[in-house]
Symmetry: C2
Subunit: 102 residues, 2 copies
């Protein structure tokens, strides 16, 4: 199970993946960045590259200017939906209960 943590590791992994799943369509880089704000470009890029490597996401480059790159959830990535739904539901129900002490 340690591997799962590895997979969704990184502060931003879950929000990014969830967004891609919810949208179900190709999503542009900038859109993802706004969805997972305040993530930096660098971190978003890094996460997306990891997901691509794991086969969770597909990357499509449109050779235009300004550049347009779209990310789409794969079938494998989509299998995460029930789990992420469960996460989201838990957060809605119990999220407020948690202390946010740093």
């Amino acid at each position: 199970m340690v591997a799962f943590v590895n997979l969704i590791s990184g502060k931003w992994a879950i929000p990014i993946l969830y967004r891609l799943i919810v949208e179900g369509r190709p999503v542009r880089f900038g859109e993802l960045q706004r969805a997972a704000a305040p993530i930096t470009q660098k971190e978003l890029t890094r996460h997306l590259r990891l997901f691509e490597e794991q086969g969770l996401v597909t990357r499509t480059v449109h050779p235009e200017m300004p550049p347009r790159v779209e990310y789409t959830i794969t079938d494998l990535g989509r299998t995460l939906q029930p789990t992420l739904d469960s996460l989201a539901a838990w957060m809605r129900t119990h999220g407020a209960t948690l202390s946010h002490t740093k």
Copy 2:
């Protein structure tokens, strides 16, 4: 949802919590350490303190020698079960698919 990642952050959080949930009874420190091997004392302690702070786990010290400290999942902690079950199921089904490139 970033908060969730925060909650279960750390390589070991999920295995520890899951063990506590599955057992459902007070579990000793050493037992948890073996369950989440090869975690170090320091990290296990840190995680358990965090869980305690979040109200997911109760810590009970028995003033004996050698010391005995037991950790028990709380009601709040138990609400994580369906989500963690889902995680575990996903790993069983798709875990092997993932690349483990570092």
